[in-house]
């Protein structure tokens, strides 16, 4: 609305200069339709508007806009029209209708406002669309096309078609042509035109094209004694299979084709209303707790004519069987609905394929998050046999590091670039500290390590709560990560998720490089496979363990920043990812980067798939996923990529 107003003002300004010599023309034209303009009605306003449009005067468009906004007043004394604004103290600020220039103020006693009603405003609006569609300002034309897209109407079709030819902007022209097709499909004059338009929609994935098809295919549920010949029947509904019997009967009741059923509470009310001397139809009220006696009592009342008779199941079946239930197209022409059905089935298939692709993208992005969250855990578990329950808290620590950096560095891009290495450094340090102080003393007691790290986890969580409070802290992504990459109306993915995917790829490559190509990687692999042998080869397992733990924790910090960009940063955020990370490691198999990748892909993909089957319920999705994992472990106890040798723990 506000935008429309601004636009109108712009239009006024544009129209202003040449208005001077045309001033009298518009005013005189208005005078010929004075009555219709002052007190317009839906039926009569058409001619006036048509005349105005036909005049081709540049001031017509702003006039129509302001008329629509109820800003046109007539001076009673001379019948001249003005634009006017109420100033509050019964005064009006007047503007010339042609130039839009202020011409002074006057008391409102002498003026009468034109108040077009909704119907009239629509007529004016359609006329305006024509102006806007061929307006010299391209943004104006876009605006007009958008408004038609939003509220398609049969009347707009010829108007739109007329302007396509003269459209100078190729992309807008294409858009207009497409819109014309959509409108033709719904409102075209001839069946052939419409069918042709509908057929071109069969490979269109956009939401508005699908909406057009759906509108053409709209049906109403109907009921009749026999199937009528003269209607366009979509399908016949079988009571009992396509619709429940009770629902079919309710339809009959609504159409006054059958008597209403008596609900248990109505029966009860009827009985209560007919108690005489503690008896209903001769049956003592005390016995009416028995459903059979209650039925008897009601039947007796019905026989006496006091209450309407009970509709039995058999009555219902009989009434339903005597009628035919069917869905009728709103569209009368079967040729069109057939074409639309055919186009729709094509569209449905393509939408399905694209949805699967979109789901794949979603799954991939979830998988990369799980990969980032789990890989650190997998490394420490694989190399040291240590399950770090505080891993989730390292993720949280990384996210809070990002938050703190953003408080200091205002530029989001710079702060992100600072936050990533800093988060790594902070959690690397925390990891090394934890390894030195706690884990080192608990090697070969894996269950106790698990519990000790859990102790650290609750302490860290509470500490974060004490420092940062319980409310969620924002971690704002830089502007260039806002928005989404949109392939079509079905497939889209936000840039943040793409960035996280890239980040995961970078870390995958980096880890593979570190593990396969560096001295540290060689030593880590040696310790993973046989710690005793590695030690005797002069590798210091102590140092390797420390570095590995630091590395695993550091990656958790990076993951924390990444997760913080799209989810909220709270002291409990680690808990949301820790179990999934465990699952990823367990499913993937320990001590192997590829295993973790496989695990993350499987879990991410699975979760998205389950959510797709039951989109409303993510809780159920997680439940089923965990059940799946428990079963999966049955068949591959060591994960997808099983490590052979000592580290496999047999």
């Amino acid at each position: 609305m506000l935008r429309a107003l601004c636009l109108t003002l712009a239009l006024c300004l544009l129209a202003a200069p040449p208005a001077a010599d045309a001033q009298g023309e518009l005013q005189s034209l208005l005078q010929t339709h004075s009555e219709e303009i002052l007190d317009p009605s839906f039926r009569t306003v058409g001619t006036a508007v048509d005349d105005l449009v036909a005049s081709g005067l540049p001031a017509v468009a702003p006039f129509l806009t302001r008329w629509q906004d109820k800003e046109v007043w007539q001076r009673t004394s001379d019948g001249l029209f003005f634009f006017a604004e109420e100033t509050g103290d019964d005064q009006l600020t007047l503007y010339d209708i042609a130039s839009g220039d202020e011409v002074g103020t006057a008391p409102d006693d002498d003026f009468e406002q034109s108040k077009p009603n909704g119907g009239v405003r629509r007529v004016i609006g359609q006329a305006l669309v024509q102006f806007r569609l061929s307006s010299p300002d391209i943004s104006d034309r876009r605006q007009a096309v958008r408004s038609i897209e939003r509220n398609p109407d049969a009347d707009q079709l010829p108007v739109l078609r007329d302007t396509i030819e003269g459209e100078s902007d190729p992309s807008l022209k294409a858009r207009k042509e497409r819109l014309a097709t959509l409108l033709t499909a719904r409102f075209g004059e001839s069946t052939e035109d419409r069918i042709a338009a509908i057929e071109t929609l069969s490979d269109d994935l956009s939401i508005d094209a699908r909406a057009v098809l759906n509108q053409i295919l709209d049906t109403d549920a109907e009921v009749a004694q026999t199937l009528p010949d003269d209607v366009n029947v979509a399908r016949v509904l079988q009571p009992g299979t396509d619709m429940p019997l009770a629902e079919a009967y309710e339809t009959l009741v609504d159409e006054d084709l059958a008597p209403a059923r008596t609900s248990p509470s109505e029966i009860r009310a009827a009985l209560e209303a007919n108690i005489e001397d503690g008896r209903v139809a001769g049956i003592p009220t005390g016995q009416l707790g028995d459903p059979a006696r209650r039925h008897d009592a009601y039947a007796a009342l019905a026989e006496a004519g006091t209450v309407p008779p009970l509709v039995t199941e058999a009555d219902m079946e009989e009434a339903v069987a005597a009628h035919v239930f069917y869905a009728e197209y709103d569209e009368d022409d079967p040729a069109i609905t057939d074409a639309a059905e055919a186009a729709m089935s094509g569209v449905t298939t393509r939408v399905g394929v694209n949805q699967a692709f979109d789901l794949g993208l979603d799954a991939l992005s979830l998988a990369s998050i799980y990969f980032l969250a789990a890989i650190g855990l997998a490394i420490t578990f694989g190399v040291m046999g240590v399950i770090n329950m505080a891993h989730g808290e390292f993720i949280m620590m990384g996210a809070y590091t990002g938050f703190v950096v953003q408080q200091i560095v205002p530029d989001y891009t710079v702060s992100l670039l600072v936050a990533l290495p800093l988060a790594f450094a902070v959690t690397f340090g925390a990891g090394v500290l934890m390894e030195r102080l706690v884990i080192r003393w608990l090697y070969h007691r894996p269950l106790e390590t698990l519990l000790a790290t859990f102790g650290i986890s609750i302490a860290l969580q509470q500490l974060a709560k004490n420092i940062f409070g319980t409310q969620a802290r924002p971690l704002t992504s830089p502007g260039w990560l806002d928005g989404a990459w949109v392939l079509n109306d079905v497939v889209s993915i936000s840039y943040i998720r793409i960035a996280i995917f890239v980040l995961a790829l970078v870390f995958l490559a980096l880890l593979l490089f570190v593990l396969k190509r560096t001295r540290l990687g060689l030593e880590v692999r040696a310790v993973t496979q046989n710690p005793g042998m590695a030690a005797s080869m002069g590798i210091n397992p102590d140092k390797i363990n420390m570095l590995t733990f630091g590395l695993g924790s550091g990656i958790a910090g990076i993951a924390g920043v990444a997760i913080g960009l799209y989810a909220k940063v709270t002291s409990e955020m680690g808990q949301d990812y820790i179990v999934q990370s465990f699952m990823t490691v367990v499913v993937g198999g320990v001590g192997n980067v590829w295993g973790t990748l496989a695990g993350a892909t499987l879990i991410g993909g699975l979760q998205k798939q389950i959510e797709w089957f039951n989109p409303s319920n993510t809780l159920a999705a997680q439940t089923y996923m965990i059940l799946f994992i428990i079963l999966f472990i049955q068949f591959r106890p060591k994960g997808i990529v099983a490590l052979k040798g000592r580290a496999a723990g047999d």
Binding site: P264, R268, L271, E272, I275, V280, T285, G286, L288, G289, D290, P291, R294, F381, G385, I387, V438, W441, L442, H444, P446, L447, E448, L450, L451, A452, F454, G455, I456, S457, I458, A459, L460, Q461, Q462, L463, K465, N466, G532, Q575, V579, F582, M583, V586, N617, L619, A620, Q622, T623, I626, L627, I629, I630, L631, I633, Q634, F635, P637, G649
Partner: protein, 425 residues
């Protein structure tokens, strides 16, 4: 060597005649005496049966603590004795609570509904009653139909059976799946944690038929005992909890002593060796896992009527981890350790988080225990794991050593060698 004579003295005894459980485990007797004394003390100090020094809510807290001790004993058997670090036993505890809670809620709603329907001139039909109960109970989740799992909710007997069967069957099926695929160690812990998480997420849904995150409430009102005061109900539940703990303790002491105890401790220490002795290790694990799950369920069924409300958050994985923390702090591998751990940590936890503990003013910063208790607990727990792996119960060893100092020399030269060996592995 000096110790030889000592051992000769023992070995000259004739083949050991069968001795009673208590004679073999004097700690059982001490425990039972302490429990009896505690129960008597609370009874005498309570409002309902004594001088009224202890408030009803405190009696409830103590009763609940006894239930927690019972589930901790079960946890100790499965973890401390059998070596399975289950992060799912609090889920079984919760399931027991849900099973009894269903009856409590149904039966009580039934009484209320019957009262309100009695006002009308026509007596209600059975269907009307059950519909009214359903809309009373499930109105909060926008439903008025009784889910199928509530079919037996009107029968106290069947729901009591469910207290035992539901956790038992879940443990049996889960354990069978997990143990048969030889999932052990931390893997198993994580799997049990996953099971717990799945269960709590499931219960959080309204579709679970257990009122979603609202849980079951009003459980402190016992149907049929409307006239009894909460004070007398609380002391009755306290007695029941004490009895359950006593019986559970003796039962588990019996399980872990004798040959059964020998085998399950063998499973804990060297699973493969037990297998090569011809024992089906999986069967033993399943036996212990299921049995302790059943006891956890019973403990839960006693706990939640005292707590008054149960919701899925109670079952969340963290609760089961806390259970492990209690046992670890108390000292695992000894039943009284679990009891001490559960009692001390849970009571301290409610003291600290309930604002009972005085704030510490450091001048620059005031430590409020409601904020810092978890930090303290976490750090304490790490310290206990590092420096006192035997937990509080380990203190009793010091006492025993002090009373029988000669035992110290008895550790052969290999005790340290063994540790060194382990370190190399």
């Amino acid at each position: 060597m000096a110790y030889t004579s000592t051992w000769q003295k023992f070995s000259t005894r004739p083949a050991m005649p069968r001795r009673g459980l208590i004679a073999r485990n004097p700690s059982v007797l001490y425990f039972l005496l302490a429990l009896a004394a505690f129960t008597l003390g609370v009874t005498l100090l309570s409002e309902a049966t004594g001088v009224g020094v202890l408030s009803t809510s405190f009696v409830k807290t103590l009763g609940k603590t006894l239930c927690l001790c019972l589930v901790a004993v079960a946890m100790d058997v499965v973890w401390g004795y059998c070596g399975i670090l289950s992060l799912g036993h609090f889920a079984f505890f919760g399931l027991g609570g849900y099973a009894i809670g269903m009856w409590l809620m149904y039966a009580r709603t039934e009484i209320i509904v019957a009262e309100s329907l009695a006002a009308s001139p026509i007596p209600p039909t059975g269907q009307e009653i059950s519909e009214a109960i359903a809309s009373q109970i499930f109105g909060v989740v926008g439903s008025s139909e009784l889910p199928a799992i509530w079919t037996f909710a009107d029968s106290l007997f069947l729901q009591l059976l469910a207290v035992v069967l539901v956790p038992g069957l879940l443990a049996l099926v889960f354990g069978w799946l997990a143990f048969r695929s030889r999932v052990t160690g931390v893997y198993l812990s994580i799997l049990t944690q996953a099971m717990t998480l799945a269960l709590s997420l499931y219960l959080f849904q309204n579709e679970s038929g257990l009122r979603g995150n609202n849980g079951l409430s009003g459980l402190q009102n016992i149907p049929g005992l409307e006239d009894a005061s909460q004070a007398s109900i609380s002391i009755a539940f306290f007695w029941a909890s004490a009895l359950a703990l006593g019986l559970g303790y003796v039962f588990f002491a019996w399980i872990v002593s004798g040959k059964m105890g020998s085998v399950i401790r063998g499973v804990r220490d060297d699973e493969a060796r037990v297998r090569f002795l011809g024992y089906h290790v999986e069967h033993y694990k399943l036996f212990v896992f299921t049995l302790t799950a059943v006891v956890a369920g019973i403990a839960g069924a006693l706990y939640y009527p005292q707590a008054g409300i149960i919701n899925p958050a109670e079952i969340a994985p963290i609760a089961s981890i806390y259970l492990a923390v209690w046992v670890a702090i108390g000292g695992r591998g000894r039943l009284y350790g679990a009891v001490i751990g559960a009692a001390v940590v849970s009571l301290m936890s409610s003291w600290f988080t309930g604002g009972g503990a005085p704030d510490v003013n450091l001048g620059v910063y005031v430590i409020q225990w409601t904020d810092w208790w978890l930090v303290l607990l976490g750090v304490t727990f790490v310290l206990v794991t590092l420096f006192a792996p035997k937990g509080i119960g380990g203190l009793f060893d010091l006492v025993a050593d002090w009373r029988a100092p000669h035992r110290h020399e008895d550790y052969g030269p290999d005790a340290s060698a063994k540790r060194a060996e382990e370190g190399e592995e």
